[in-house]
Amino acid sequence: MATGQGGPLKGILKNIGDAPEKPETAREVAIRHATLLENRKQLESQILDSLILLSEYPLARDAQFNASSPAASDIADFKANVRLFQPSDYDDLIEERNVNELCGYTLCAKPRRQTGSSGEWKITSSGEIVKRKELEKWCSQQCARRALFVKVQLNETAAWERAGIPDIQIDLLEEDRSAETEADRTARKLGELKLEDQRQAARDSAALAMERGDDKFGPPVNKVKVTLKEKDVKAPSEFPPAEAGNSEDHLLVDGYKAKIPEKQEPEI
């Protein structure tokens, strides 16, 4: 450069090719990304499997069970399988159930409504005009409400980003508890509360670990090692303790009294 000093010229661009990546580390990174992709694929196929499984539900079709009070095993299965769905997957499930001629709500065993073969629009009993396709998804309006109640709880986030988070729970609409007495209800609530407290701590730590990226796909590669060091700070000088009854208190600024330089006697 113009400075005329010796040595090689320096580019102003960022130095990328400084340390060429070792083949081992490159391989490690590639494998890590491949496992991530593989995991996503597995999750997707798992979601498809649960979709196909749920399209045949409910399994318990006795007379005592219906859409408002399904069998406990079916509820548990449904909640477990639908947990990772995105709303679009849930729509696919409804469509798949309709192909099987079932009501779109997973826990309803009734066939879906048939409203004749013609016409794209239908008038409901309440006077609304709706698409026939929408109407024929369900067996009744209640089932539509129940199904959509589940749908709004589903998350748009991709499944692999929340697969490990344990505190995603899906609730059903109106779980019928009219037969319960007051004492039962209190006991149940108390039990839930206790259990909740215990679990919450575990869940919180697991969710936190998930968020931080301490995932199960092998050891994290590019983590920064953090060491905390106390910064050595000079403490501000302490105020001199104010003497009680000091008449010059009002003259102190931060414990310092401005001194007016005494006029020096002119030397003669």
């Binding site: 498809l48 696919d92 798949e96 099987n100």
Partner: protein
């Protein structure tokens, strides 16, 4: 040829299916499977004689056929012999084509079709459906991909043969040797070629697989003919 037909719903249905039947035959023939000329260009009268009930409606259960790959197709699809694999097997096989009759298509129908295709040792299965598949059914096709290639076409999409349209240039599938020669000639890597999607209508027509290269020959005002190459992704 269609104008002199009675204009009721049944014969419309017959004509629709006849057109789809012809297009699917042309498609199979263009992929170089062995088909006789009179099978491909079947006339409407013959179609009606062979595949219709006495009352004039189409017997869809009869609309199915299979074909074997021709020698040139086998040669095209055989990977080049290497030291470790001196006698390579071609990665194509007999094809099964069926017009399905169901009113709706879910996973179970697809599974039945795939099972039939696989148990009868077909390498490719083409199902022609009157209505679209459900989303889950479409996704489930991917799971059988390594056993047999299942392709789905809508009847509506087969009413005309798109490759006969004047704005569709000629697509020619390159064999593996030709592909290697092309890459060598232009000193390219595979990824440096222009691309064509697997779901592109012509790619679907030719049943392209990922990694195959098509040569597209266009008419050009300045150059007479112009060839470009695309890699299927």
């Amino acid at each position: 040829m269609i104008d002199d037909l009675p204009n009721d719903a049944k014969s419309k249905e017959v004509v629709r299916l006849w057109r789809a039947w012809r297009t699917v035959h042309e498609m199979v023939a263009d992929r170089e499977y062995e088909l006789a000329e009179d099978e491909v260009s079947i006339s409407l009268e013959r179609f009606r004689d062979e595949y219709c009930h006495p009352d004039g409606s189409v017997n869809r259960a009869k609309l199915q056929f299979s074909a074997r790959p021709s020698d040139s197709m086998l040669r095209k699809n055989t990977p080049p012999a290497t030291a470790s694999n001196p006698d390579p097997v071609p990665d194509c096989g007999p094809i099964w084509v069926e017009f399905l009759t169901d009113k709706q298509f879910g996973v179970s129908q697809i599974r039945n079709f795939a099972k039939y295709t696989i148990t009868n040792n077909y390498k490719t299965g083409i199902m022609v459906t009157p209505v679209a598949l459900s989303p889950a059914a479409r996704k489930s096709l991917a799971s059988v991909e390594n056993l047999a290639k299942i392709e789905c076409f809508l009847e509506d999409d087969l009413l005309v043969n798109i490759t006969h349209h004047e704005l569709v240039p000629r697509h020619v599938l390159l064999s593996r040797d030709e592909k290697i020669a092309l890459l060598k000639r232009y000193r390219l890597k595979e990824t440096q070629l222009p691309r064509i999607l697997q779901k592109d209508p012509v790619a679907r027509y030719l049943g392209l697989k990922r990694g195959q290269v098509v040569k597209i020959i266009r008419v050009s005002e300045t150059a007479g003919r112009y060839a470009s190459y695309r890699l299927c992704v």
